[in-house]
Symmetry: C2
Subunit: 372 residues, 2 copies
Amino acid sequence: MNGDFVVTPWEVSGEVDYDKLVVRFGTSYITPDLISKIPGGKENLFLRRRLFYSHRDLDWLLGLNGKGHPFYLYTGRGPSSGTHLGHMIPWIFTRQLQEAFGVKLYFQMTDDEKFLFKDKLSLEDTASATADNMLDFIALGFNPAMTRIIVDTRDINHLYRTALKVAKKITFSTARAVFGFSNSTNIGSIFFTSVQSVPAFIESDLEGRNVPCLIPCGIDQDPHFRVTRDVAPMLGYFKPALIHGKMLPGLSGGKMSSTGNAAIYTTDDDKTVKKKVMNAFTGGRATVEEQRRLGANPDICPVYHHFEFMFEPDDGKLKKIETDCRSGALLCGDCKQNLLSKVIKFMSEHRIKREKAKETVGNYAFNPDKVI
Amino acid sequence: MNGDFVVTPWEVSGEVDYDKLVVRFGTSYITPDLISKIPGGKENLFLRRRLFYSHRDLDWLLGLNGKGHPFYLYTGRGPSSGTHLGHMIPWIFTRQLQEAFGVKLYFQMTDDEKFLFKDKLSLEDTASATADNMLDFIALGFNPAMTRIIVDTRDINHLYRTALKVAKKITFSTARAVFGFSNSTNIGSIFFTSVQSVPAFIESDLEGRNVPCLIPCGIDQDPHFRVTRDVAPMLGYFKPALIHGKMLPGLSGGKMSSTGNAAIYTTDDDKTVKKKVMNAFTGGRATVEEQRRLGANPDICPVYHHFEFMFEPDDGKLKKIETDCRSGALLCGDCKQNLLSKVIKFMSEHRIKREKAKETVGNYAFNPDKVI
């Protein structure tokens, strides 16, 4: 596909050109120099493979941090369904950043957003997805002493005043231009970005002084935070810094959609996982003979990208998968079997951690009286 | 003045023709038959003088009530400044309705609205006005066992979920058409009407069954509740019924503005009250001689209307003021002195009740766990 592509917080379509996005959004590449300022940055899978590759003001934030000025992390999830592997990529990277810097993290569940933007979703649906998604988040091993989960509809009393201040600074024109709203957009959706801005300022509000904030997120979320960054100085806050990730492609060859067989959900059983992996779209050829002769294409292959993002941390082994794929030495069936065994292993471990998370979920609840 | 007039929740300008408003807004007049269904209705000052004169679905609500189906009351205040006499008119009428029917009342302080719509107002300003206005409300003698005050920024956790449901049903087109929004309107203002809708449904939410709601308010607030009424059936609620009042004219001859000498504030001292009353605009003539000869015009006189709305409950005495005014027997100076002594008396009593209200304000706080 050589056509155009669309990336907004609510739509990712076409074949995304991540280099073009840097130009289109006006962000900056993460340079080797910047990576060297992140403890363990050179060894970090997502940074060394350029899966988190773009930023805003990361240089400023790391500069301040180098002078002993601590920052905090903020990321989140729009709970519209179960959690799939693609959702967990930025969470895993965020946990790594939290460990590298030893800093606080606010994780926002934007259940209000999902209710407002998805016609058929009820508040009961989003509540159920919130409870579900939280377990996957906690299962990844976040330090409960340094991590707080904000659920918008549950914690709105701690968000609303700052959301009002943000909302007062954003006109309908601005919201329409950034998010592509129309006259038929509902008035809750128009307001919502104000609520998503709040965690970028919440630590400053709680501490009573400006605290820098770093937001790791999929680059599709950048439009929200462009608005947040424009408003910040008007309200006397620092602009939040951003670090942008690429999105794990879906197994069926397009976006990792929230429905169908494109994504592996954390609640899928092994049989379902097997079906999804073994039926995945690949960069392979029509016949074995052809593939042996001409080789396949890992660049467009979601199976390859699953190794790259999550399931083959060893760069040498990943390189071998790529080389053998291109040369025709590795056939798709074998490659899928290899991925499947790694996914099954991950899933069996995750299921246990996810079950344990039910006992500790209360420890992560946002409570401004207990400053972490 | 014969020109056009504007009545919206945020603007009242020109000389309001209340009969034209009934046509323009598509409301109904309160008939003698309806008044007779309100306990003490025929004797009620505001009803018998047609100061509360228009309604939506009051017949339906009183019909249900007659069959033993109780309703509740909802009114409110946008706390942007101190309380003036004009603010208290619908509150006094609401208290009378509460007493007549022995029903619950929710009083909403829309501090979020005032912050969003008034450029120069901070959340500290609206918090201060809220604390101030509450005392005047309580001083009017509402039954604390049956009355709860909702402060939007304080109680948003009890409002937000229903506000989201309302917001999801209102498009930008609708909000723009009803409220006259433009592209430069801030996104908080666009969302706000959703929050003002919630108390019309809150008793149904708390009770888990549909409870009819009656909203006494100035007719300028009707646009908000037109939207609320349109949305109600989509969410499975009854449409709230409305009972609309006229607005007490300002002492300087136009709208009872929130600034200047047009309004008597509950915190004004006697000297200030005297200055405002004695300097009031009237329907009088240029000279005493002329007035004795030609008479004056009570219809356009705010001093006369202050008697009519609040300070002369005796219809015979009010009629005499009117007749003597028209005939030229009553001069404006004497009439103002008469009003002044009544206002001073009211203010001295109100000051004491207002001071006492500081002790009981906590009894009115909204708390869904203690259902009233």
